[in-house]
Symmetry: C2
Amino acid sequence: MAGQERLVVCTTCRREGWLPDELRDGARLSAALTQRGVAHDIQECFSACSNSCVVTLRGPGRWTYVQGGLDPDHDLEEVIAFARAYQASADGIVPWRERPEVIRKNTIARIPPLED
Amino acid sequence: MAGQERLVVCTTCRREGWLPDELRDGARLSAALTQRGVAHDIQECFSACSNSCVVTLRGPGRWTYVQGGLDPDHDLEEVIAFARAYQASADGIVPWRERPEVIRKNTIARIPPLED
């Protein structure tokens, strides 16, 4: 994401069935986003492990969204689509109809913007 | 909370067993905090309903914590203690031993500070 809006990916997230010898699912999601040229920050643990994989979208003056239940093998396009819609929005609120289903169904929390 | 750190309480939260004729549990938590003189903001829905009651602690340059599983009848002192410890901390991270048990066990998400 090019502006002050930031997509942040948990790189320590591991989903059920993850094998210890494998790269963590969250790290794979981050690598896949990098490969697609999608700028993002990384974070070791959002303390939302039971809902992994987890990403956060936030920015100054915007609502913050914490999204979980993401599968790096299946939900990459949805994460990218939501991140772009978030960036295009005025305040971080993406209209419901523009939210991919995996996003609609797995909002862990939304947090209002900080007041000045 | 007196500084730029803010405690935000969801006033639409309702726990299992809540009765439709009653004030919502989150609104009761907010009222109880007001009665104790604890400044806070209110928010209609953090989209974390399955973990109600929910509060958020955040501030400029600080980690944001989303905390759930709060019972307005039993956890008021714990919410106040955690809010004060958060305010006293440098960056929003309260040492583990200073976190009340209901806070330790019910962190929905933590989000790193926005970078400048």
